[in-house]
Amino acid sequence: MGNVDLRSILTIALFASALRMATPIIFATMGGIFSSHTGIFNVGLEGMMLIGSFFAVYGSVQTGSAYGGLLYAIIACLVVSLLFAVLHLELKANPIIVGLALNIFAVGMTNYLLTALLEVYGVYKTDLIVGFNELEIPLINQIPILGKLISGHFPLVYFSFVSVYIVYLILYKTPFGFHLRAVGEKIDAAESIGVNTKKMKYYGLLVSGLFCAFGGTFLSLSYLTLFSEEMTAGRGWLALAAINFGRMRPVPSLMACLVFGFADALAVRLQQFGLPSQVVLMLPYIMTVIVLFISAIIAERRKKSSLKKGEEDVEFSPS
């Protein structure tokens, strides 16, 4: 433990794996951003992603293709998020409790199906699961350091980063995004200009389900091609912290996701250096609390400085 050299830890491979570890968190974060902008804090991301992971594996075995798995995951997650939406929007259930119950329900459901459908306990791993292949990007993979960092990832890694930009475009550059954000910020105003607020909330929840399907599929069909109990391991919650840090804006939230991805990758790396796994595996969770702490400090500073300037409305729109 004493002779751990910093240079042997901070390798290119570590940063490359940080990008990979950040991927599922980025997907969940982008999904969560959508529902947050309609005023629904979606605490069910964790459970939805878990359901996505399970059905991705199941679909991959059924169809013999990773993209088939993705399709199964998308259908399952959309069904579950529709259930969430109906319970909250039609039957008036409290969204926080629905989300939390959904997480518990998802653990029960995936564990049940694991045993009842696939007839294993704990972990399902066979050669029948078809995962994604790594994507070598021509030309870029020739560049010495950058090639190692950027090329050779799974397609969903690239897509997660592209999705950040897409989410940004939709939210801030389209009328749809404007209406969606209006629902969360000033629901009365949104209604007065003729926005169907309930419909927007449906969209918000369904889109977060869609993103969770991508996140879940990445977890079970890319680096690892297996499903294990509760394999999301709190990533849906890290996403909530990232949304909080970025105050619902896609790009700043992405920064927090990268920090979490790095902490995850570092934890795996440090285990190889003989540090007790129990201790280093705390790292991502401690990092989450620290990120929340930092974002609270930033928020307070911003508030103070804007008070000094004499601005009246401190809590203005987060865009």
Binding site: A101, F105, L240, V289
Partner: protein, 365 residues
């Protein structure tokens, strides 16, 4: 004139009484309906995956209540459920969503176990209370970081409490893997607690012990505390509307601190009772989600201590019955987690209750 007034009073009393009856009946019918929905969904899942739901539920019932010993074991299992449910209720009453029950349970269990195996020459009458106090303190103090973040930096407790679960589980895993490892333990675990720290059993042939009585007593204490004391009143008011409570001069900060510490302390007590009463040593991963059960029980019981008891008994019966169900019929016990999840999903649905109340009014009024 006087007679008329008296008559009107009587009529009004009668009316109020009927209103109350309608409410109680509506609540009861609502719970019955939700329970049926949850059980039907469980049955549907079993049926769709090619299992026989009727024999599965039969085995579940048999496992939970089949004979006196099984019933006693179910009561023993509901001990932790009661404590977890009350811990959740007290936090929710003050509008704190304590998702960290699981982590607080682990820390409380470990600190109790530590006192249990470190001190070996104490009489039971001293040793058991010491262990229990250690468990309460462990669970309560584990909430301090969250309180600091919430009160000083206004960070909602939702995510930090949850993160501390993962941290607590890994921390205790570390403690029993290295500093306090007992190589003779069947699984990763701490040394056995001294015999003087073990809780006396109530019946031979069952695991039920005085922990159950402690839990029952705590139901009454928490009822008295929440509804009959000034501090409990303040906490409820803060829970109903924090801004209003602050404007009325109620001690908001104090109420939040107290609620969080009590919530953590009570689930820590639950951890202590499990170690001293059931396991006899701290075992890695000993809790099969009791913190989450507590969260669900509190919601199902709508944070009322007296309602926590039947809910906890139901959850305890599901937990014990599921083991028998799995071994007899081969239906995976995870199905009960779906039943529980469905129950919680539908308890918060307000529309059923409103409609049932409307329907009942025609009958009772």
């Amino acid at each position: 004139m006087v007679l008329k007034k008296e008559l009107m009073n009587k009529k009004q009393n009668n009316h109020a009484w009927r209103e109350k009856l309608t409410n109680i009946l509506a609540q009861f019918a609502n719970y019955l309906l939700i329970l049926i929905i949850a059980l039907v969904i469980g049955a549907l899942v079993m049926y769709l995956s090619g299992r026989d739901p009727i024999s599965a539920y039969g085995a579940l019932w048999e496992g939970a209540f089949g004979n006196g010993y099984r019933f006693a074991d179910t009561l023993d299992r509901s001990t932790i459920m009661i404590l977890a449910g009350i811990a959740g209720s007290i936090a929710f009453r003050t509008n704190i969503i304590n998702l960290g029950l699981e982590g607080q349970l682990y820390i409380g269990a470990f600190t109790a176990a530590w006192v249990g195996f470190t001190f070996t020459n104490l009489p039971s009458i001293v040793h058991i209370p010491l262990c229990i106090i250690a468990g309460i303190l462990g669970g309560a103090l584990w909430t301090l970081p969250v309180l600091y973040l919430k009160l000083r930096w206004k960070i909602p407790e939702l995510v930090p409490t949850l993160m501390l679960n993962y941290i607590a589980i890994r921390l205790t895993d570390y403690l029993i893997a290295f500093p306090f490892r007992d190589p003779t333990a069947p699984m990763a675990g701490s040394p056995l607690v001294a015999a003087s720290a073990r809780l006396p059993k109530l019946i031979k042939g069952s695991t039920i012990n005085i922990g159950f009585i402690i839990a029952i007593v705590l139901i009454f204490i928490s009822y008295w505390f929440i509804f009959k004391t000034k501090v409990g009143y303040e906490m409820r008011m803060v829970g109903l509307n924090q801004d209003f409570a602050a404007a009325a001069g109620l001690p908001v900060k104090k109420s939040i601190i107290l609620a969080m510490l009590m919530s953590g302390g009570i689930i820590g007590l639950g951890g202590a009772l499990m170690i001293l009463g059931f396991f006899g040593r701290f075992l890695g991963g000993f809790s099969s989600g009791y913190g989450w059960d507590g969260f669900m029980i509190a919601i199902v019981a709508q944070n009322h201590p007296f309602a926590v008891f039947p809910a906890a008994l139901f959850f305890g019966a599901l937990a014990n019955g599921a083991l028998t169900m799995q071994s007899v019929t081969g239906v995976p016990q995870a199905v009960v987690a779906m039943v529980k999840g469905t129950l919680v999903l539908f308890v918060t649905v307000k529309i059923f209750l409103e409609n049932i109340r409307k329907g009942l009014k025609k009958w009772v009024m």
